[in-house]
Symmetry: C2
Subunit: 433 residues, 2 copies
Amino acid sequence: MKDVNVGICGLGTVGGGTFNVLTRNAELIAGRAGCNIRITRVASRRHRDDMDLGSVPFSTEIFDVVNDPSVDVVVELIGGYETAKELVLAAIGNGKHVVTANKALVAVHGNEIFEAAEKAGVVVAYEAAVAGGIPVMKAIREGMAANRIDWIAGIINGTGNYILTEMRAGRAFADVLKEAQDLGYAEADPTFDVEGIDAAHKLTILASAGFGVPLQFDKAFTEGISEVTPYDIAHAEQLGYRIKHLGIARRRDEGIELRVHPTLVPKSHLIAQVDGVLNAVLMDGDAVGQTMYYGPGAGAEATASAVIADIVDVARISASTGALRVPYLGFRPEAMENLDVLSMEEVQSAYYLRITALDRPGVLAKIASILSEHGINIESIMQKESELKDGRIPVIILTHTVQERQVNRAIEEMESLSDIDGKVVRIRAENFN
Amino acid sequence: MKDVNVGICGLGTVGGGTFNVLTRNAELIAGRAGCNIRITRVASRRHRDDMDLGSVPFSTEIFDVVNDPSVDVVVELIGGYETAKELVLAAIGNGKHVVTANKALVAVHGNEIFEAAEKAGVVVAYEAAVAGGIPVMKAIREGMAANRIDWIAGIINGTGNYILTEMRAGRAFADVLKEAQDLGYAEADPTFDVEGIDAAHKLTILASAGFGVPLQFDKAFTEGISEVTPYDIAHAEQLGYRIKHLGIARRRDEGIELRVHPTLVPKSHLIAQVDGVLNAVLMDGDAVGQTMYYGPGAGAEATASAVIADIVDVARISASTGALRVPYLGFRPEAMENLDVLSMEEVQSAYYLRITALDRPGVLAKIASILSEHGINIESIMQKESELKDGRIPVIILTHTVQERQVNRAIEEMESLSDIDGKVVRIRAENFN
């Protein structure tokens, strides 16, 4: 058995976790891998005084790892776009395999990186880039090989899910965000998490590997959770739904839906029960039906678990011939389709609408007739006299599935009525059936 | 790209599903696999008049498949122990790879079959043998490669889970079983499902691949669900627990716990929410923490999904050298440990106890002192005056985690009291923390 020599770039949370788990479980991992996985080089801009690297050479220049002839596999854990891309392409250029946990890198530069790797005959693995410790890329690329995957829905940002979970107790978004920041669950600048950008990176990768289409992050739609209110959460619950920040990808004949936004999901569905910082990815295949993968989407050792699984895979895969390796995005390049990402107006969904109506006779009839004219059918409607305040009363409607364009036109028309006050609140809903 | 020629043995539910999915999704599967997967031979004792096999040669002699020189991969879907074993060993002997969905075969004869395959240099794949369409063997053998797995808990028999789910509405076991038989969810002889034998087959396989120990089905403990009553289900719910028929495997320094029995699980845990015929496998790894895999555990195309994923893997794996293949039970043979399966007396668990006490002063004190003498701490206790009937009153106790031996001794002592009527009902409980 030949040893596999690993060089780690980046010694932050995940880099530290990877070093520690590889060291602690070395014997167990060798028993699974069929070879020893040795760390022969570590580089990071900052020293970590809290870590004991033993006899492993350390430098503050990450390109040292890429240029070290003894290194077989470069583990990229520095994050970010440009330097990471340069590092990974340099590694590929030097004939080294790469393992990365960098979702932004894969979602934005993946097409280019995979093409370079394919040409160079090396392997680039990225299980840790999607949903942290959950082996969901393995499930979608290999476990689902028999299936035409119709849709994917994921809770793939722990910070957002934590915030929405806590808001069910009636707390405001800003309050919970602050708490999450204090607890270290949310960054000082929470934009990436709460606006859905991080989730869109992961969703882009899942959609490509599920459907066999190129990565198209720039066309993903994102809507954050900062406008979600405890009021709407409570009323969704009364309708039998829970609000989750979902990434949804759906394959349709016309193209791909690719979107991250707050979404009502039936409380009776398992994905509605995924709370706190945990992640889950649900997918529907034509043969298997619905399967779901659940676990920690972040954290030092949880993410390291996926990084190391990739290293073990690379050790195996690198011994096989190129044509029979697991394709980067699940499908061989020549089997991929250039399907477009659909615009949001073309997306199909159900909708939760909250309309602030003036308390006048005939308002409900006007709302109902506008919806009907736009071909929108109502699943539930809720209006409570007890919620009348200052002559205004909320009307809450859950629609059946329609084209988003229809709902946009109906909302415009409703907002132009003198009987309707302010903006109509709109949250998308999915029934998964 | 070389085509892979597949021969299917057995054309029942799963065999038919495999034929249909491989045919329907042939192009998509080739795009993922990097080669064409062609069915070149089918054999089954019975003809299936409802299926169109096209130009694929069919025979009623299953060994024809094994002896066909054009067949690269033999797919064993006949079920049962002895003929299946003979068939698989003959295929291996003829240098063919094997894919099987046969959990009984793997759990009972797996050690011998894997050894033969290892010697012959062929691959035997069995994803479909555990939890049907859920790619859980891939998760545990490859996705968890970095982890020391501490325990595994699974709802791995759909029939049993369906029955327990329906019993929550207050219905008796026998009633629901009959309905499940009428719906085709349960066999005419339901022993394999409701007594936990089927679940023990799957648990045995999961435990070996998780812990790196040989398959030891004969030492698995099974307790069925036929004694579970709507009364105990309701009282468990009041304590915040749900009763599930779990397969539990735990790795301890002294050995392996391997047991299938009704189990109280906290309602707040995701696994408690897995209802109906669906399956889920929860596992705890030292690096990743808890992950869970959910989906259909049976059905024609769901199981076919796993069979075909294995065929695709075999096509890839067969191109790599033996030493770097994924080991059969997750670990290379030389890395496996010969840990014993512990007796049930050595198992550690919490316990739900229902004691029928005579309504006399001091009974509760006697019960409490017996528990205390055996070192058993009480988590919750419930006794309701309103349930007093014929001078008898149920006392319901949930204990903290103890050794099963302690509980057995305490129960013996309680049952010998003149204040206690009949047998003490005992159901194990797990908190997963």
